[in-house]
Symmetry: C2
Subunit: 409 residues, 2 copies
Amino acid sequence: MSKIAVLGYGVVGSGTVELFYKNKDKIIRSAGTDLDIKYILDIRDFPDSPYANKFTKDFDQIVNDPEVTIVAEVIGGLKFSYGYVKACLEKGKSVVTSNKELVAEKGAELLKLASEHGCNFLFEASTGGAIPIIRPLHQCLAANDITAIAGILNGTTNFIITKMINENMAFGDALALAQKLGYAEQDPTADIEGHDACRKICILASLAFGKHVYPKWVHCEGISAVTLEDVMYAESWGGAVKLIGSVKRTDDGKILPMVRPAFVCDNNQLSHISDVFNGIMVYGDAVDEVMFYGRGAGKLPTASAIVADIADAAKMTVTSISQTWEDSSDDSFIADYRDDVVSVYVRVKGVPAEKISAAFGTVEYLSREGQPADELAFISPAMKERDFDAKLEAIDGEVLGRIRVLELE
Amino acid sequence: MSKIAVLGYGVVGSGTVELFYKNKDKIIRSAGTDLDIKYILDIRDFPDSPYANKFTKDFDQIVNDPEVTIVAEVIGGLKFSYGYVKACLEKGKSVVTSNKELVAEKGAELLKLASEHGCNFLFEASTGGAIPIIRPLHQCLAANDITAIAGILNGTTNFIITKMINENMAFGDALALAQKLGYAEQDPTADIEGHDACRKICILASLAFGKHVYPKWVHCEGISAVTLEDVMYAESWGGAVKLIGSVKRTDDGKILPMVRPAFVCDNNQLSHISDVFNGIMVYGDAVDEVMFYGRGAGKLPTASAIVADIADAAKMTVTSISQTWEDSSDDSFIADYRDDVVSVYVRVKGVPAEKISAAFGTVEYLSREGQPADELAFISPAMKERDFDAKLEAIDGEVLGRIRVLELE
C-alpha cells in the first residue's frame, strides 16, 4: 500500500484527485499495489468537498508521515514547490510533478537528490500535458541514439496561429480570443514570447542528451512578430507557421536548443497540428521519426500524466537512472544558433529583385492574395545564420518579416 | 547480468543484433543491468558474421541454458515460434516478440504462461513497429478509461492509397509499385485484404479492454475495392480514404473491433499520415485523444521496439499484470457491426437523385473532376448499418462504391 499526498488543489490538483478516484481500480492494477490519497495540501478550505477529511494546511504533517511514499506537486512556480519537493525527496518520498519551471530550473539537482535517497522524481506531466513523451523517450526509445526533437509545445500560441491561418484573424484579435476563452493568461508573455515552450524543450533536451539545459542558455523567439501576411506566404509555400521548440545534435558534438516561429512544410506532421493541441517529433537512428500528439494542457489531460506517474512511482523499487541527467556547470556544450545552417523566409518592402539576387543569389519567390506591388517575399538559400544576417543587412531595405524554415537534418 | 537469445536472423533478427551492439551502452543504462546476446538461433550458416560464435541451430541449447533469461522471438508465423515461445516461458525466461500473428492468436495463453512462471511476454514490436504504443497504452494511459482506438496499422496499404491520392495512380499500378519497392509481398493478400491490420487491432483491443479478441471475430474489409474515383470524392468531401483498424466500446458494454477502408476527415490527424507510416489514435476519458505516429515496419524501426522490450524485460522483477488480458471463450462481448450507426459514402451509376432522396432523405452530394453525367456520389445520413443496407438495396441501382465515414464518438 502506497499513500499519496497531493500538494495544491487548483485545476491540476483537483483533476488529479477526481481522476484517481474515478479510475482507481485500473490505476491500482497498473501500479501492481494498493494506492490511496491520504492528504491534500492547500491553504484554502474546502468544507463541502467529498475529500474534506484529507485536506491539511500543514506541509510538515505530510513530510513527517512515513506512510506517505508518493507526493504529487501541482502547485506550480518555484516559491513553495522547490522547498517542498526537496524536503520530500530528502525523506525518500518519490515526487511526481507537472511543474515545468521546477524541472527546467532545478531538475538536475532534484534528480540527484532522488537518486541519493533511493526514490524517484517523475515529471511526465511537465511536458506535453496528456501526451506520453517523457517515459517513451527514455524507455520505449532506449535503443535509439536520439539526434533531434522538435515540437509544438505550447497550446496557447498554436491556438492563436490556427485562428490566423484558418480564419484570417490578426495576431492581436486571435490573442484576445484566446484570453476570452481562458487559453491565454491576462499577461500572456510566458506563452507568446516562447518562455513556456522554452522550459519544455529544456526538459526534453536534458533528458535526451543527458546534461541539464538551462532556459537562460536557449535562444528563444516568440510569435508576437508573426503577421497574417507571413501566415499567408507560408500557405502559398506549402506549409504553415508554427512555434517550434527544438533541439538537435550538431556536427561538432554540441547540441542546439531553440524556440522560434518556423515555416513547417506540409509533409511534416507538425504542420497539421491545430488549435490547442501539441505534437512532439523525435528523431532517432533506429526509429527514423516518431511523433506524439495530444492535448498539451488542461485539467484532466494533465492529471492523466500525473496519475500515470503516481502508478509508476508505486511500482518502482529503485531510482530510474535512464530518466536522470547530470547537472552542467556552463553552456560550453550548447551550439551558437548563428552557426546553424538555415533557409529563411523574408518579406521586404520597396526592395528591387536585383538587390535580392545580388545578395542571396537565386531565391524562391512566394506570392499571396492582395500582395502590394512594392512587396516581395522569398525563401533564402540555406546558409549559416550569421551569413544570412550579413546579406540581409546588405540589401539595405525595409524588412517586414523573417521566419526560419524548419530543417532538422 | 542478463543473457539474451535471439530466435531468427532474418530482417528483424539481424536488425536487433546490429542495433543492440550499436547502442549497447545506452540500452544497458535503460535496463539498469548488464546485458549481452549469448545465442542467435537460425538454420542457416553465417560464417562471416561478426557474431559467428553466437549462432546455434539447436533450440534446446538455448532453452536449457539457465543463463539465458530473455529470448527475442523474431521468426514470425506460428509453426516454430509458438512451441519455442511456450517452452521458454515455461522455463521462466521472458520473451519479447515482433510476431503479430503469435500475439493475436495465442496472446492470452502465452500471457497466462508468463504469469504462472513469473516472467514476462512483451510485444511492443508486434504493433506499429517503431511506434511506442503497447507500453504507453497500459502504462502512460493507465489512469484513463479507454473508449476507442483507431489506427492506420498497415504501411503497405497506406503507401498504395497515398500513391492513389497524390499521383492519381490506379490501385493495381500502386500495388505493383509497392511490390517493386519491396513494401508488398508477391502475394499481397495479408496486407491488401486487411488481415495484417486485423491482427494488430486484435492486440490493441485485447490490451485496452482486457479480453482476448480473436481475428476470426473481427469484421475485416481490405482496400482492393477502393478506386481512384473514391479517393477523388473523399478529397472533395474534405478528407482522405484510409484503411482503418479500430475498436470502440458500444453503448451495451460490448466492444466493436473492425477493419475497413474509411473516409477520414481532414481534421482527424490520421488523414494526414502518408506513405508507409502508421498512426494510432487512442481515445480516453482523461486525455481526450492522443496519437502515436511513426514507421510501422522495417529492419531498424522494428528492432528499436524489440530492444526496448529487452531492456524492459531485464528491469522487471515480476510479471506486469497491466499488460495482461484474459482469454475469452466466445465472442459474446463483440458487437455486431451491422448495429453500429454510420454514415456511408456511396457512388452509383444511372440512379436518379429522386430515388436517392426517397430512400435516404437529405444526403450530401459530392463532386469530382471528370464526373460522368450518370454518376452520383453522396454521403448518407447516419443510421444503423443494417438499415443502410436495406435502403441501398431499395434504390435498386448500380453501386460502384461504398465506404464508411470514420466516426468513433
